[in-house]
Amino acid sequence: MLNYISLLAVPLILLLIPLYALIKKVPLYETFVDGAAEGWTVALKIMPFLVGMLVAIAVFRSSGAFAALANLLSPFCRALGIPVDVLPIALMRPLSGSGSLALTAEVFERYGPDSFIGMLASVMQGSTDTTFYILAVYFGSVGIKKYRYAPAVGLAADAISFISAVIVCRILYS
């Protein structure tokens, strides 16, 4: 049922917005093209911010520092009752969506998607978004230089989501 809604959402929006505009006698195609022209400008504007963010994350990850950090933190994890295997996902999730998805795929391969670790990895991957991508792209697109407390709120929310994921999975699946 929920999947069905997800599947239908885009086609429905693609139909309803033009339909309403048609009823209101808005010149459909000209207006659409007029708006679409902005898309390109926005894409160009966010490009340098993406380059900066993705390069820094790639350097951190490829150097082996990321894996070392995960190693360093694993004793704390064990103490808190968080399975060590999902720690890299939790650390990667705010930095890179494709990176954490790859780590989730690795967990699936090793433990299976329906194992406790697999379920937990799925919930972690699904319950937050890539905080640094959102900060870089959203603020970059309008030229904001001072982020104020936005990274703090974003990262704290990620941490809470992960802890909640562990607690919820422990209650539901183990």
Binding site: L54, F108, G126, F139, S141, S164
Partner: protein, 193 residues
């Protein structure tokens, strides 16, 4: 803060690579990430054009104002400094709805549109405003009902029941979002007095 995080990622990475003899990999990764970033923004351009075009239709037809009025009570509480029937709310609602449904690439264009409108209301255009940060908090915590990407990955990995994680995801993401809103409130009071 972002300046420091950015520098720390680079400095820690490069220092670590120097000591572990991984420095060659760093160079390759940096160049390929730069190229990937450009590829990503070009790919995004197509989707951006599509949704920006639809948004313009929604604006001109007045659909934007109807949605803004419907959500005014909640929006007024979350974004007290934004006028109650502001067009920004349409983009915000569409962005959050896209996130609910796990439609990642539809969420970004609406998010960017919302930022553009919030920037017009921003008294200091170089610094993030309170409503912008609230919006980003909602976005990064990202209340999700259908994590489409994870479900398809689970299915591809041979899960017997790929959608079984939906209820747990809703619970975890709701906790995260509630916390994000509260934390944002507390910090807002501290920064904008």
């Amino acid at each position: 803060m972002l300046n420091m995080i950015w520098f720390a990622l680079l400095a820690v990475g490069i220092t670590y690579a120097l000591f572990t003899g991984n420095i060659g990999a760093v160079t390759t990764a940096a160049f390929s990430a730069a190229a990937n970033a450009v590829k990503l923004s070009i790919e995004l351009a197509g989707v951006l054009c599509l949704w920006m075009g639809l948004l313009k239709l929604a604006e001109r037809s007045g659909m934007v104002n109807i949605i803004a009025k419907v959500i005014a009570p909640i929006a007024g509480w979350l974004f007290p400094s934004v006028p109650r029937d502001d067009p920004a709310f349409f983009a915000i609602v569409m962005n959050l709805a896209a996130n609910f449904l796990g439609l990642g690439n539809a969420a970004t264009p609406f998010g960017l549109k919302a930022m553009e409108r919030l920037q017009q209301l921003n008294p200091d255009p170089t610094a993030a405003s309170a409503p912008m940060i609230t919006f980003l908090a909602l976005n990064t915590a990202c209340i999700t009902f259908i994590p489409t990407l994870v479900i398809s990955l689970r299915a591809a990995s041979g899960s017997a029941n790929p959608t079984s994680i939906i209820s747990a995801t809703i619970m975890a993401t709701t906790c995260g979002t509630i916390f994000a809103v509260i934390f944002d409130r507390l910090l807002r009071r501290h920064y904008f007095r």
